[in-house]
């Protein structure tokens, strides 16, 4: 179903970095059901650590987390894996930080609270764009 995958099973490898556990968990379940291999990280630090040990096709990154500024995490992601598309999650009315993210190489952004279908669509677009 997803064309560009590096998973041996053919599934898209997705990193979900968001400290809102409840929401992230249900999203992860629904994405998994749609044939994705989803890894969750509930803080910026945890996200960076996860990316260090595993490669991902697409990352979804919340810009507003307790421990780290999302933009900083984005910069580190882009250094660690410049080709991995990163979809940012921004708060309502935070178009400014979304723009900043785009400037730092983010692929796209979603305004929270987003709906599952929106997320799914963005991930698919991002997956297609992967240049590997």
């Amino acid at each position: 179903m997803v064309s560009a995958t590096q998973d041996e099973t053919g599934r898209l490898r997705l990193l979900l970095v968001d400290d809102e556990v409840g929401f992230t968990t249900v999203m992860a379940k629904r994405l998994t059901r749609r044939n994705m291999e989803v890894t969750m990280a509930f803080s910026g630090t945890q996200g960076i650590q996860t990316l260090r040990v595993k490669q991902f096709d697409v990352a979804v990154l919340d810009l507003k987390m307790e421990d780290m500024d999302g933009i900083e995490v984005l910069k580190i992601f882009k250094i660690m894996d410049p080709n991995m598309p990163v979809i940012m999650l921004t708060g309502h009315g935070s178009e400014k930080s979304a723009n900043e993210g785009i400037q730092h190489g983010a692929y796209d952004y979603l305004t929270k609270p987003y709906e599952f279908t929106e997320l799914l669509e963005k991930i698919r677009q991002a997956a297609i764009s992967i240049k590997r």
Binding site: E20, G22, F23, R30, G93, P113, E115
Partner: protein
């Protein structure tokens, strides 16, 4: 009460209807009148009474002095005439005076000295027969044996008689001396001219009505009235009696009394005894005349008081009216200002609260919606496909998602109401925006039987705004206006005008209007008069938030059953 009626006519009708302003006016008027008039009356009447007292004292003193002086003059006159006769009798003796030519010479001497005071002289013997006579009348052998003066003279040796007509038929009185020591005893008598004597009294005149006269014990006049007419009731035995009683203390004292005469006119009477209490010298004058100056000053005082009172009343009314009108205006302004301040503060804090709530609710709702989606995902499993309630599950999940999205819409709107950051602004001409909106709403207005009219000011200045936000504002107002006109439709007018640094858009409908009680609340978030589920009550809050952020304001004027006008003031852009 007529006073209240007058008061109420003073105020503009809208204030008259308010009991508060009515009683305020009344209280101010009464206060001004009482604090001005009471002291004025007290001071003026005290001064007047004081003045009247001293003035009357002065008049009385003057009269007393006058009467006293004349009393002495008259008494002296009488005593001197008596002394003249007495000296003549003593110096010349009976024998010489019996000679009529000698008597005539003496009369001539007296008349030379005193003028016409002495009319005639006579020598009378102890039986009352006149022995000698000098004078103009033919009284040579007159008999005075029955005359009162004769008896008195015999008894006490001298007499000054009352005025009487006597044998000659003219008013006169007699001064006589009885020489009882000689043999035979004889009497020298002289007739005093009544007119000459009267002149002594008639000279006493003050004012228009002052008149002096002499009464004897019987109340008979002893003087002629002279040029001035006597009061009708003089001589009046009753008045004379009253005066006599009043004067009975006698002596040199001058008594002053105020009495009403028969015509009811008050007179001032000053009296003094003459001739050892036989006669009474009376000076009388109308009180009105005597106190003419007093009456005049009373009149002037009254006029001043009346004018002053009128001025106080006028001032009280005018001032109170001004105060009440100003108070009403100030109250009105205060009320408006108070409302506005409350509103801004209230809306700001409500906005913060709403934003907080929206944030807190967003995530749980999003999770609920997604969990519902997850259940939907799971329902795809084969094990559930055969469940008899599968359709019901799907319907319930769809409902959860629908309602969840509705929650999200509301929180989204709340957040945009509270949002402080400016959206991208650009300079626009509002007229074009309004025309676009009219076109955009055409479908809905036609359906609602609403006639739309635009009155656009061509010279409208540009404003710097976010088009989408401003669209949201006017769409909201237009939709509200259409809703207010209900099923029967009406007229919607969109007009623009420029006013002191603002571009103003008036949105006027002919709808049901907004009751005064609701006017203060229409901008409150969640305040709605629409049925549950038909409106969120956020539309006007968002409009308010957007316009407020622009530095403008929204004003509402509404009359129930007539319609409502929302006026949106948008500041013109700085470059314009």
């Amino acid at each position: 009460m007529p006073f209240d009626d007058i008061l109420h006519k003073l105020l503009p009708p809208d204030l008259t209807r308010t009991p508060y302003y009515r009683s305020l006016l009344r209280n101010i008027v009464l206060t001004i009148i009482s604090v001005s008039i009471i002291p004025m009356v007290v001071v003026s009447s005290t001064l007047y009474l004081q003045f009247r007292h001293s003035y009357r004292e002065k008049v009385n003193d003057h009269l007393r002095e006058l009467v006293q002086k004349h009393q002495q003059n008259i008494d002296n006159f009488l005593q001197e005439r008596l002394t003249d006769i007495r000296l003549m009798a003593a110096r010349n003796g009976h024998e010489r005076l019996k000679d009529e030519s000698f008597l005539q010479r003496n009369l001539d001497l007296l008349q030379q000295e005193y003028g016409s005071v002495f009319v005639d002289l006579g020598v009378v013997n102890a039986e009352g027969n006149q022995e000698a006579y000098a004078g103009p009348f033919k009284l040579a052998k007159a008999h005075y044996g029955d005359a009162d003066w004769f008896h008195t003279a015999i008894k006490i040796d001298f007499v000054i008689s009352d005025v009487f007509l006597g044998l000659r038929g003219l008013p006169h009185f007699i001064v006589a001396v009885h020489s009882s020591a000689s043999h035979p005893p004889w009497i020298l008598r002289a007739t005093i001219d009544f007119v000459a004597f009267s002149d002594l009294v008639n000279n006493i005149r003050i004012g228009r009505t002052g008149i002096a006269y002499i009464l004897n014990r019987e109340g008979k006049l002893q003087t002629s009235p002279g040029a001035r007419p006597m009061p009708a009731d003089i001589p009046n035995p009753l008045l004379a009696k009253a005066l006599w009683d009043n004067m009975s203390a006698g002596g040199d004292d001058v008594r002053i009394a105020l009495k009403k005469d028969s015509s009811g006119q008050e007179g001032i009477y000053a009296g003094a005894f003459l001739k050892n209490g036989d006669w009474l010298l009376i000076y009388q004058q109308n009180a009105e005349d005597a106190f003419a100056d007093l009456d005049q000053s009373f009149f002037i005082a009254t006029v001043i008081m009346t004018l002053g009172t009128a001025a106080v009343f006028l001032m009280a009314f005018a001032l109170s009216r001004m105060i009440v009108i100003r108070t009403a205006k100030a109250d009105e302004e205060n009320k408006l200002m108070g409302q506005k301040v409350v509103e801004t503060g209230k809306l700001a804090s409500i906005g913060e609260l709403a934003a907080g709530v929206a944030h807190e609710i967003n995530n749980p709702v999003a999770i609920m919606v997604e969990e519902a989606g997850w259940i939907g995902d799971l329902l795809e499993e084969k094990e559930f496909q055969d469940g008899k309630n599968l359709e019901e599950f799907k319907r319930a999940l769809a409902q959860i998602q629908t309602q969840g999205r509705r929650c999200k819409d509301i929180t989204h709107k709340l957040l945009s109401f509270a949002r402080k950051t400016a959206a991208t602004a650009q300079d626009i001409q509002i007229n074009y925006l309004i025309e676009d909106l009219v076109a955009l709403s055409a479908q809905r207005t036609k359906f609602s039987m609403v006639e739309v009219k635009t009155e656009l000011e061509e010279e409208l200045p540009m404003v710097r705004v976010s088009v989408s936000e401003l669209q949201q504002v006017f769409l909201n107002l237009i939709n509200n206006a259409i809703d207010a006109m209900g099923n029967k439709g009406g007229k919607l007018t969109l007009s623009t005008r420029a006013q002191k640094g603002f571009a103003v858009v008036d949105v006027t409908d002919t709808g049901s209007g907004i009751p005064a009680a609701n006017l203060n609340r229409i901008f409150d978030p969640f305040f709605t008069t629409k049925a549950v589920g038909k409106g969120t009550g956020l539309g006007l809050s968002i409009c308010y938030g957007i316009i407020n952020k622009l530095g403008g304001r929204i004003e509402v004027a509404s009359t129930v059953d007539v319609g409502t006008t929302f006026s949106v003031y948008i500041p013109v852009s700085a470059g314009d």
